[in-house]
Symmetry: C2
Subunit: 150 residues, 2 copies
Amino acid sequence: MQRTDFGKLACSIARTLDVIGEPWSPLILRDVWAGVRRFDQLQADLGISRKVLTERLNHLVDHGVLERRPYDQRPRHEYHLTQKGAELVDLLMVMAGWGDRWLAGEAGPPVLYRHHACGEISGVDLRCAHCGRPMHAGDVDLLPGPGAAV
Amino acid sequence: MQRTDFGKLACSIARTLDVIGEPWSPLILRDVWAGVRRFDQLQADLGISRKVLTERLNHLVDHGVLERRPYDQRPRHEYHLTQKGAELVDLLMVMAGWGDRWLAGEAGPPVLYRHHACGEISGVDLRCAHCGRPMHAGDVDLLPGPGAAV
DNA sequence: CAATTTGAGTTCCCTCAGGGAACTCCGAAT
DNA sequence: ATTCGGAGTTCCCTGAGGGAACTCAAATTG
Protein backbone atom coordinates (compact mmCIF):
# COMPACT_ATOMS: atom_id res chain seq x y z
CA MET A 1 0.00 0.00 0.00
CA GLN A 2 1.79 3.05 -1.20
CA ARG A 3 -0.50 5.95 -0.56
CA THR A 4 -1.85 5.35 2.93
CA ASP A 5 -5.48 4.35 3.22
CA PHE A 6 -7.25 6.47 5.81
CA GLY A 7 -10.60 4.68 5.61
CA LYS A 8 -9.69 1.98 8.06
CA LEU A 9 -8.63 4.23 10.91
CA ALA A 10 -10.92 4.61 13.90
CA CYS A 11 -11.21 8.33 13.31
CA SER A 12 -14.11 10.11 11.72
CA ILE A 13 -11.84 12.79 10.34
CA ALA A 14 -9.69 10.21 8.61
CA ARG A 15 -12.76 8.43 7.29
CA THR A 16 -14.20 11.62 5.92
CA LEU A 17 -10.88 12.33 4.26
CA ASP A 18 -11.09 8.92 2.69
CA VAL A 19 -14.22 10.14 0.89
CA ILE A 20 -13.29 13.73 0.01
CA GLY A 21 -9.67 14.02 1.00
CA GLU A 22 -8.16 13.48 -2.39
CA PRO A 23 -7.05 16.49 -4.40
CA TRP A 24 -9.91 18.15 -6.28
CA SER A 25 -12.77 16.33 -4.57
CA PRO A 26 -13.93 19.26 -2.45
CA LEU A 27 -13.75 21.58 -5.44
CA ILE A 28 -15.82 19.17 -7.49
CA LEU A 29 -18.46 19.19 -4.78
CA ARG A 30 -18.36 22.96 -4.63
CA ASP A 31 -18.93 23.14 -8.37
CA VAL A 32 -21.79 20.66 -8.34
CA TRP A 33 -23.32 22.60 -5.48
CA ALA A 34 -22.99 25.80 -7.47
CA GLY A 35 -24.69 24.21 -10.46
CA VAL A 36 -21.81 22.92 -12.57
CA ARG A 37 -23.07 19.39 -13.13
CA ARG A 38 -21.63 17.96 -16.34
CA PHE A 39 -18.34 16.34 -17.08
CA ASP A 40 -17.02 18.79 -19.61
CA GLN A 41 -18.23 21.80 -17.67
CA LEU A 42 -16.46 20.55 -14.59
CA GLN A 43 -13.33 19.79 -16.52
CA ALA A 44 -13.27 23.26 -18.08
CA ASP A 45 -14.17 25.11 -14.90
CA LEU A 46 -11.62 23.38 -12.71
CA GLY A 47 -8.88 22.79 -15.24
CA ILE A 48 -8.54 19.27 -13.86
CA SER A 49 -7.20 16.43 -15.95
CA ARG A 50 -10.01 14.35 -17.47
CA LYS A 51 -8.50 11.19 -16.12
CA VAL A 52 -8.52 12.40 -12.55
CA LEU A 53 -11.99 13.91 -12.94
CA THR A 54 -13.36 10.55 -14.05
CA GLU A 55 -11.70 8.88 -11.13
CA ARG A 56 -12.96 11.37 -8.55
CA LEU A 57 -16.52 11.35 -9.88
CA ASN A 58 -16.63 7.57 -9.70
CA HIS A 59 -15.27 7.64 -6.20
CA LEU A 60 -17.84 10.21 -5.07
CA VAL A 61 -20.68 8.30 -6.72
CA ASP A 62 -19.46 5.05 -5.17
CA HIS A 63 -19.51 6.66 -1.76
CA GLY A 64 -23.02 7.97 -2.23
CA VAL A 65 -22.08 11.61 -2.17
CA LEU A 66 -23.03 12.30 -5.76
CA GLU A 67 -25.52 10.58 -7.98
CA ARG A 68 -25.47 10.26 -11.77
CA ARG A 69 -28.78 11.39 -13.23
CA PRO A 70 -29.59 11.00 -16.94
CA TYR A 71 -30.89 14.10 -18.69
CA ASP A 72 -31.37 12.76 -22.20
CA GLN A 73 -32.23 9.64 -24.18
CA ARG A 74 -28.65 9.11 -25.16
CA PRO A 75 -26.19 8.24 -22.48
CA ARG A 76 -25.82 11.72 -21.05
CA HIS A 77 -25.98 12.52 -17.38
CA GLU A 78 -25.47 15.13 -14.75
CA TYR A 79 -24.09 14.81 -11.27
CA HIS A 80 -26.25 15.78 -8.34
CA LEU A 81 -25.65 15.95 -4.62
CA THR A 82 -27.33 13.32 -2.49
CA GLN A 83 -28.42 14.12 1.05
CA LYS A 84 -25.12 12.72 2.20
CA GLY A 85 -23.37 15.02 -0.25
CA ALA A 86 -25.40 18.07 0.68
CA GLU A 87 -24.30 17.65 4.27
CA LEU A 88 -20.72 17.63 3.07
CA VAL A 89 -21.36 21.03 1.56
CA ASP A 90 -22.00 22.28 5.08
CA LEU A 91 -18.42 21.36 5.69
CA LEU A 92 -17.39 23.33 2.63
CA MET A 93 -19.20 26.39 3.93
CA VAL A 94 -17.21 26.19 7.14
CA MET A 95 -14.06 25.76 5.08
CA ALA A 96 -14.93 28.79 3.00
CA GLY A 97 -15.63 30.73 6.18
CA TRP A 98 -12.14 30.06 7.45
CA GLY A 99 -10.61 30.99 4.11
CA ASP A 100 -12.64 34.19 4.02
CA ARG A 101 -11.46 35.14 7.47
CA TRP A 102 -7.79 34.22 7.21
CA LEU A 103 -6.83 34.19 3.56
CA ALA A 104 -9.00 36.62 1.63
CA GLY A 105 -6.79 39.64 2.29
CA GLU A 106 -7.50 43.15 1.06
CA ALA A 107 -9.88 42.14 -1.67
CA GLY A 108 -12.36 40.56 0.67
CA PRO A 109 -14.19 37.29 0.22
CA PRO A 110 -14.75 36.08 -3.35
CA VAL A 111 -18.20 34.72 -2.58
CA LEU A 112 -20.93 35.91 -0.24
CA TYR A 113 -23.66 33.77 1.31
CA ARG A 114 -27.19 35.05 1.67
CA HIS A 115 -29.25 33.18 4.20
CA HIS A 116 -32.74 32.42 2.95
CA ALA A 117 -34.32 32.57 6.39
CA CYS A 118 -33.26 36.14 7.14
CA GLY A 119 -32.20 37.43 3.75
CA GLU A 120 -28.91 38.75 5.10
CA ILE A 121 -25.38 38.24 3.89
CA SER A 122 -23.93 36.10 6.62
CA GLY A 123 -21.72 33.19 7.53
CA VAL A 124 -22.00 30.05 9.59
CA ASP A 125 -21.50 29.96 13.30
CA LEU A 126 -20.82 26.80 15.29
CA ARG A 127 -23.20 26.07 18.13
CA CYS A 128 -23.62 23.21 20.52
CA ALA A 129 -26.43 21.00 19.27
CA HIS A 130 -27.47 20.49 22.88
CA CYS A 131 -27.39 23.88 24.59
CA GLY A 132 -27.10 26.21 21.63
CA ARG A 133 -24.13 28.13 22.95
CA PRO A 134 -20.95 28.63 20.89
CA MET A 135 -18.91 25.47 20.50
CA HIS A 136 -15.35 25.75 19.29
CA ALA A 137 -12.20 23.68 19.37
CA GLY A 138 -11.24 24.92 22.83
CA ASP A 139 -14.71 24.41 24.29
CA VAL A 140 -14.77 20.64 24.28
CA ASP A 141 -13.16 17.62 25.89
CA LEU A 142 -12.50 14.55 23.81
CA LEU A 143 -13.65 11.23 25.21
CA PRO A 144 -13.37 7.76 23.73
CA GLY A 145 -16.66 6.76 22.09
CA PRO A 146 -18.27 3.36 21.52
CA GLY A 147 -16.48 2.94 18.19
CA ALA A 148 -13.06 3.68 19.64
CA ALA A 149 -10.18 1.42 18.69
CA VAL A 150 -9.31 -1.30 21.16
CA MET B 1 3.58 23.14 -12.44
CA GLN B 2 2.73 19.51 -12.03
CA ARG B 3 0.48 19.26 -9.05
CA THR B 4 -1.97 22.07 -9.40
CA ASP B 5 -1.59 25.01 -7.04
CA PHE B 6 -4.94 25.91 -5.48
CA GLY B 7 -3.73 28.92 -3.55
CA LYS B 8 -4.11 31.35 -6.43
CA LEU B 9 -7.75 30.64 -7.21
CA ALA B 10 -10.38 33.17 -6.20
CA CYS B 11 -12.08 30.63 -3.98
CA SER B 12 -11.81 30.41 -0.23
CA ILE B 13 -12.30 26.67 -0.32
CA ALA B 14 -9.38 26.25 -2.70
CA ARG B 15 -7.26 28.58 -0.62
CA THR B 16 -8.02 26.69 2.53
CA LEU B 17 -7.10 23.48 0.75
CA ASP B 18 -3.82 25.07 -0.18
CA VAL B 19 -3.07 25.26 3.55
CA ILE B 20 -4.47 21.97 4.85
CA GLY B 21 -5.47 20.09 1.71
CA GLU B 22 -2.44 17.92 1.36
CA PRO B 23 -2.61 14.36 2.60
CA TRP B 24 -2.01 14.06 6.36
CA SER B 25 -2.31 17.76 7.21
CA PRO B 26 -5.74 17.54 8.84
CA LEU B 27 -4.68 14.48 10.81
CA ILE B 28 -1.59 16.30 12.03
CA LEU B 29 -3.75 19.14 13.26
CA ARG B 30 -6.10 16.70 14.94
CA ASP B 31 -3.19 15.12 16.76
CA VAL B 32 -1.73 18.43 17.87
CA TRP B 33 -5.15 19.44 19.07
CA ALA B 34 -5.42 16.19 21.01
CA GLY B 35 -2.06 16.81 22.63
CA VAL B 36 0.38 14.96 20.39
CA ARG B 37 2.93 17.71 19.92
CA ARG B 38 6.34 16.26 19.15
CA PHE B 39 7.87 15.02 15.97
CA ASP B 40 8.49 11.43 16.96
CA GLN B 41 5.14 11.12 18.71
CA LEU B 42 3.36 12.38 15.62
CA GLN B 43 5.35 10.09 13.39
CA ALA B 44 4.58 7.06 15.53
CA ASP B 45 0.92 7.90 16.08
CA LEU B 46 0.14 8.57 12.44
CA GLY B 47 2.54 6.15 10.79
CA ILE B 48 3.47 8.90 8.38
CA SER B 49 6.83 8.97 6.65
CA ARG B 50 9.29 11.25 8.44
CA LYS B 51 10.04 13.06 5.26
CA VAL B 52 6.44 14.00 4.63
CA LEU B 53 5.89 14.88 8.27
CA THR B 54 8.78 17.35 8.15
CA GLU B 55 7.37 18.84 5.01
CA ARG B 56 3.83 19.19 6.36
CA LEU B 57 4.94 20.67 9.65
CA ASN B 58 7.01 23.28 7.87
CA HIS B 59 4.12 24.11 5.61
CA LEU B 60 1.73 24.49 8.53
CA VAL B 61 4.20 26.62 10.48
CA ASP B 62 4.86 28.77 7.41
CA HIS B 63 1.15 29.37 7.06
CA GLY B 64 0.79 30.36 10.69
CA VAL B 65 -1.40 27.45 11.65
CA LEU B 66 1.12 25.85 13.98
CA GLU B 67 3.96 27.38 15.92
CA ARG B 68 7.17 25.76 17.02
CA ARG B 69 7.72 26.25 20.75
CA PRO B 70 10.95 25.24 22.47
CA TYR B 71 10.57 23.12 25.60
CA ASP B 72 14.21 22.65 26.52
CA GLN B 73 17.60 24.32 26.39
CA ARG B 74 18.68 22.10 23.53
CA PRO B 75 16.98 22.46 20.24
CA ARG B 76 13.81 20.61 21.15
CA HIS B 77 10.38 21.89 20.42
CA GLU B 78 6.73 21.14 20.36
CA TYR B 79 4.09 22.20 17.91
CA HIS B 80 1.17 24.24 19.14
CA LEU B 81 -1.95 25.56 17.46
CA THR B 82 -2.10 29.28 16.82
CA GLN B 83 -5.42 31.11 16.89
CA LYS B 84 -5.58 30.60 13.14
CA GLY B 85 -4.94 26.90 13.66
CA ALA B 86 -7.48 26.57 16.46
CA GLU B 87 -10.14 27.91 14.15
CA LEU B 88 -9.20 25.23 11.66
CA VAL B 89 -9.96 22.67 14.31
CA ASP B 90 -13.54 23.93 14.25
CA LEU B 91 -13.53 22.71 10.70
CA LEU B 92 -12.20 19.36 11.85
CA MET B 93 -15.04 19.06 14.34
CA VAL B 94 -17.54 19.56 11.55
CA MET B 95 -15.67 17.01 9.48
CA ALA B 96 -15.75 14.55 12.34
CA GLY B 97 -19.45 15.20 12.76
CA TRP B 98 -20.12 14.21 9.18
CA GLY B 99 -17.99 11.10 9.54
CA ASP B 100 -19.76 10.16 12.76
CA ARG B 101 -23.12 10.50 11.07
CA TRP B 102 -22.40 8.81 7.76
CA LEU B 103 -19.43 6.53 8.20
CA ALA B 104 -19.29 5.30 11.78
CA GLY B 105 -21.61 2.33 11.22
CA GLU B 106 -22.70 -0.08 13.91
CA ALA B 107 -19.89 0.62 16.28
CA GLY B 108 -20.80 4.27 16.71
CA PRO B 109 -18.48 7.25 16.78
CA PRO B 110 -14.90 6.63 17.86
CA VAL B 111 -14.68 9.92 19.75
CA LEU B 112 -17.23 11.90 21.73
CA TYR B 113 -17.19 15.61 22.38
CA ARG B 114 -18.22 17.04 25.73
CA HIS B 115 -19.13 20.69 25.64
CA HIS B 116 -17.63 22.65 28.54
CA ALA B 117 -20.49 25.11 28.70
CA CYS B 118 -23.22 22.54 29.32
CA GLY B 119 -21.24 19.44 30.23
CA GLU B 120 -23.15 17.32 27.75
CA ILE B 121 -21.92 14.99 25.05
CA SER B 122 -22.89 16.83 21.92
CA GLY B 123 -21.93 17.86 18.42
CA VAL B 124 -21.75 21.07 16.45
CA ASP B 125 -24.70 22.61 14.74
CA LEU B 126 -24.45 25.22 11.99
CA ARG B 127 -26.30 28.45 12.62
CA CYS B 128 -26.53 31.71 10.76
CA ALA B 129 -24.19 34.21 12.39
CA HIS B 130 -26.80 36.88 11.75
CA CYS B 131 -30.17 35.45 12.74
CA GLY B 132 -29.16 32.34 14.66
CA ARG B 133 -31.40 30.00 12.73
CA PRO B 134 -30.04 26.81 11.09
CA MET B 135 -27.89 27.46 8.06
CA HIS B 136 -27.14 24.60 5.72
CA ALA B 137 -26.01 24.14 2.16
CA GLY B 138 -29.54 24.43 0.80
CA ASP B 139 -30.38 27.51 2.85
CA VAL B 140 -28.16 29.99 1.09
CA ASP B 141 -27.71 31.78 -2.20
CA LEU B 142 -24.23 32.39 -3.51
CA LEU B 143 -23.39 35.91 -4.64
CA PRO B 144 -20.15 37.28 -6.03
CA GLY B 145 -18.21 39.06 -3.29
CA PRO B 146 -15.73 41.95 -3.40
CA GLY B 147 -12.80 39.58 -3.95
CA ALA B 148 -14.45 37.77 -6.85
CA ALA B 149 -12.38 37.10 -9.94
CA VAL B 150 -12.77 39.54 -12.79
C1' DC C 1 -26.36 9.36 -46.76
C1' DA C 2 -21.63 11.02 -45.34
C1' DA C 3 -19.42 14.17 -42.38
C1' DT C 4 -19.24 16.68 -38.26
C1' DT C 5 -20.29 17.70 -33.56
C1' DT C 6 -20.83 16.72 -28.69
C1' DG C 7 -20.78 14.56 -24.16
C1' DA C 8 -18.24 11.50 -21.60
C1' DG C 9 -14.73 9.00 -20.99
C1' DT C 10 -9.89 6.11 -22.12
C1' DT C 11 -5.23 5.56 -23.08
C1' DC C 12 -0.35 6.79 -23.10
C1' DC C 13 3.68 8.81 -21.55
C1' DC C 14 6.28 11.56 -18.23
C1' DT C 15 7.36 13.73 -14.00
C1' DC C 16 7.17 14.33 -9.32
C1' DA C 17 5.25 13.39 -4.57
C1' DG C 18 4.79 9.81 -0.97
C1' DG C 19 6.57 5.48 1.47
C1' DG C 20 10.30 3.09 3.76
C1' DA C 21 14.44 2.71 5.76
C1' DA C 22 18.86 4.10 6.81
C1' DC C 23 21.87 7.98 7.99
C1' DT C 24 23.18 12.53 10.32
C1' DC C 25 23.61 16.07 13.93
C1' DC C 26 23.94 17.70 18.47
C1' DG C 27 23.56 18.56 23.28
C1' DA C 28 22.85 15.59 27.66
C1' DA C 29 23.40 11.87 30.54
C1' DT C 30 26.27 7.85 32.10
C1' DA D 1 34.53 8.71 25.75
C1' DT D 2 30.44 6.61 24.61
C1' DT D 3 25.63 6.22 24.30
C1' DC D 4 21.03 8.17 23.78
C1' DG D 5 17.13 10.50 21.99
C1' DG D 6 14.77 14.11 19.51
C1' DA D 7 14.44 15.96 15.10
C1' DG D 8 15.31 15.88 10.82
C1' DT D 9 17.84 14.40 5.92
C1' DT D 10 18.96 11.55 2.22
C1' DC D 11 18.19 7.84 -1.10
C1' DC D 12 15.78 4.87 -3.93
C1' DC D 13 11.42 3.08 -5.82
C1' DT D 14 6.63 3.07 -7.02
C1' DG D 15 2.47 5.07 -8.35
C1' DA D 16 -0.64 9.12 -8.76
C1' DG D 17 -1.51 13.48 -11.26
C1' DG D 18 -0.93 16.42 -15.64
C1' DG D 19 -1.42 16.90 -20.62
C1' DA D 20 -2.80 15.68 -24.81
C1' DA D 21 -4.51 12.67 -28.08
C1' DC D 22 -7.79 8.96 -29.07
C1' DT D 23 -12.46 6.45 -28.81
C1' DC D 24 -17.41 5.74 -29.11
C1' DA D 25 -22.18 6.41 -29.83
C1' DA D 26 -26.08 9.44 -30.82
C1' DA D 27 -27.68 13.46 -33.07
C1' DT D 28 -27.40 17.19 -36.23
C1' DT D 29 -25.94 19.33 -40.62
C1' DG D 30 -25.31 19.69 -45.59
